[in-house]
Every structure is written in C-alpha cells, then in structure tokens.
C-alpha cells in the first residue's frame, strides 16, 4: 500500500474540508477500498474516514420515510430497519459476511456503485432519495452506470431516505466466490405502482426493469412476470454466468421477490 495521511473528522463540514485536499479520498467503512489500496490499485494522498461523523449515523423513521445516515453500517441497518422496512433490513443483512457488515456502510456502498452491490438495488428499487452535503438526488438520477454516480467532486453522501412501500423484497443469487450478487432483484410495491431494480446483471450497473414494473403494477403476482422476456444484450458475461443465464436469473428472481414480498 502507498502511504497516506489518515484523518477522521467529526463533522460533515470538516470532512468536506479534508476532502478538498489534492488526492484526498473518502473512506466509509473501506470493505472495498481497503483491499484496493492494499493491491496498490489506488494511491490517495489523504484518506478521510467518514465513520466518525455522528450526524451521519443512525436509522430514523420520519414523515418522508426511513432515513439512514450514510455512515451507518450494514449490521445496524439489518437490525434497526427491520421493524420499519424489513426488505431493506434483509438486504443489508445479506451483504458480505458479519465482519464486513460491521464495517461497511450504506454511504460507502452507493458512492462506489459497484455493478454487483446490493444496496443500489434497494435504493433504486425503493425510489429513495440520496442526500448529500449539497443537495437531494432522486435515485433515478443518482445511479449513472458502472461505478458512476451523480456525485460531483467534493460531494459526499450523508444519508438516504427511503419511502416505505406496501410490500417489498430483495432476492439475491450469490456469486459463489465473492458472495456479491450474481444477480439480485429488489421489488417494491407502492400505492402508485411497482418498482423493480436489478443489480449484478448489467454492464451498466443497477437498472430498473420497466416491463416488469408495468406488468406488476397491473397485477402484482409472479405470474405477471411469466410472459416477459429479458434481453441478454448488455448483460454481464463472466466466469460465473453468461449474459443469457443472467437474463434468466432476472426473471426468476423477480418472480421469487414478488412471492417473497410482504
């Protein structure tokens, strides 16, 4: 690992200031970034840990829905969101393994926007709002493709607010080695329609399966998805599954998610 200065600010303002330094990089749990640094695949000059910022931690139910601080660990979400948004809590409880869940954070996950990460599916599938130190960004605008988000230079995610659907579920098919999602589908039924977000499958990262949303909005049952087809174009093909297999998984997992939704 190349060396760097390590700073751990206590406020968002101090974090933003620290991140304005040349070569500064935010660290929010570091379960992806740290292995990357160990491999010398990145060499920031300053690492700014965001997990010491109290105002970015915690799970809180409010009028807009469930607000989760960006520095809240997956383990905390799994525990504290369970009463309010069980599908999301279950998603958080299925990320990585217990030790990873005790360090990794929701903010770190969605800022990274790994195409196989679970949280992007939960955020996009819920139609959540990503809150940064500068603005609020709708999930539909936030995720912009492979490892790409709407975040600008110096902008950090401070929290995410989830509207609570009537029913929802996340079903993930593990990549057998990394335990990332080979494909994962988040289905959420709201009063005004259904959202379906797919992770792990596309070269462009998380996306909404609009045909299924339409079909499920009309009839929220697994059979509504049965007649749909998923194109393999643009889907990931790797050691663990072909694009055609992932296309199949999208459909199968969507059905399972609909059946599991409660």
């Amino acid at each position: 690992m190349h060396n760097f200065d390590f700073v751990k600010p206590a406020t968002i303002a101090d974090a933003v200031k620290a991140l304005s330094a040349e070569g500064a990089q935010a660290l929010s749990g570091g379960q992806t970034l740290t292995p990357t640094l160990k491999q010398r695949l990145a060499a920031p000059s300053v690492l700014v840990s965001l997990t010491g910022i109290a105002e970015m931690k915690g799970v809180c139910m409010g009028d807009d829905g469930l607000s989760i601080g960006a520095a809240t660990t997956h383990a905390t979400v799994a525990k504290e969101a369970a009463a309010h948004y069980p599908a999301l809590a279950k998603l958080a409880g299925g990320i990585g393994d217990p030790a990873v869940r005790n360090r990794g954070t929701i903010g770190g996950s969605i800022a990274n926007n790994d195409p196989a990460a679970c949280y992007p599916a939960g955020v996009l599938g819920s139609g959540a709002t990503v809150v940064t130190n500068r603005r609020k960004i709708a999930a539909d605008d936030y995720f912009q493709g492979l490892f790409t988000t709407a975040l600008e230079e110096g902008e950090i995610v401070t929290g995410v607010t989830f509207p609570i659907p009537q029913k929802a579920a996340y079903v993930k098919f593990n990549q057998p080695a990394s335990r990332f999602a080979l494909t994962g589908v988040f289905v959420a039924k709201f009063a005004d329609g259904v959202r379906v977000a797919v992770t792990g499958a596309s070269n462009d990262g998380v996306f909404r399966w609009t045909e299924a949303e339409k079909a499920l909005s009309a009839n929220f049952s697994a059979s509504a998805v049965a007649g749909l087809t998923v194109s393999a174009d643009g889907l990931i093909g790797d050691l663990h599954g072909t694009p055609a297999y992932r296309a199949n998984l999208i459909k199968v997992l969507t059905k399972r998610a609909v059946e599991a939704a409660h």
Binding site: H2, F6, S49, A99, N102, R103, R179
Partner: protein, 161 residues
C-alpha cells in the same frame, strides 16, 4: 507517523503507526500478537477477525488509526483468566473443530461474536454467520458442531463425528 492508543485484550496500548498501517499489522508486528492471521488480500478468508468494541471485524481491512480509542479483543484475549480455554475454544477442541489451526483464531472470534448476538443459533444460522471465515481443513462439519455445542445445545444427534 501518528500515535494511536487503544485497549487490546484489556490493556491500554500505544504505538506509532502510518496512515496505511492496518489493524492486523499493528497487532502482529507492533504488539507481537501473532495469533491474528492474514490469509488473503481481499477481505474474505476471515483468519484476521478480531473484535472491535465487541463486534467482529476483519483486522486486515481496518486501519489502525480508524479504531483509535477502541476496545480490541484478539484470540490471545479469549482464554479464561486462569489460562484455561473458554467455552467456545474448549468446544472447538472437544469436537475437533480445527486441524491446521490457521483459520482457527478468526473462526473462534466469529463464533464468539455469533454467540454473543444469538446465544442459541440453529445450524443454518451458524453456517450463515460463518460465511466470512474460510477453513480448508475441516469441511466445516466439526466447526458447526463445536459452535452448536458451545451454545449449550445437544449435538449428540448430529451425524456421527
């Protein structure tokens, strides 16, 4: 170099670390606590699991400076005060839950964390909880059995050893 102070196995320790110093490096090289092992580069094998403020974390994926002030517990701090094996450790020995011993410290730390959270886990819960700890020797059979036994459950009906 900056100075960090934390409590390791009940003792307050301080040391000079670089920004890049990992908790595993600090424990092994700084404090000579070599029971915490490093078996991979990508935060998956779990041989390096320790407790930070009571929670299992991978010390090879945690910067020492990030846990300054924390309570850290390593495998060396797991024995009973009289030096005997704790319940979890004893269960691993009784049920042959280890062979080469390399993954064992992380496995014990994860198991202890599980039992702290969930004192009577089911077999499926044990297997799920240990998915971040890779063992190549045991086929996990006796590890799962040991954890169930450590929770006070009767494992005599588990498929013969």
């Amino acid at each position: 170099m900056t100075k960090v102070t934390m409590t390791v196995n009940g003792k307050t320790v301080s040391g000079e670390v670089e920004g890049r110093t990992l908790l595993s490096t600090f424990l092994r090289e700084g404090l000579g606590l070599t029971g915490t092992h490093v078996g991979c580069d990508t935060s998956q094998c779990g041989a390096c699991v320790v407790h930070v403020d009571g929670k299992a974390v991978k010390s090879c994926t945690t910067f020492a400076a990030d846990v300054a002030g924390a309570q850290v517990k390593t495998i060396e701090g797991m024995n009973n005060p009289d030096g005997s094996l704790s319940v979890v450790q004893q269960a691993f020995q009784d049920h042959h839950g280890l062979q080469c011993g390399f993954c064992t410290p992380g496995m014990v730390m994860s198991s202890a964390a599980l039992l702290a959270e969930n004192p009577k886990p089911t077999e499926a819960e044990v297997r799920h909880y240990l998915e971040g700890n890779i063992c190549r020797c045991t086929g996990y059979h006796n590890i799962v059995k040991a954890v169930l036994a450590a929770s006070g459950q009767d494992v005599s009906s588990v498929a013969a050893e």
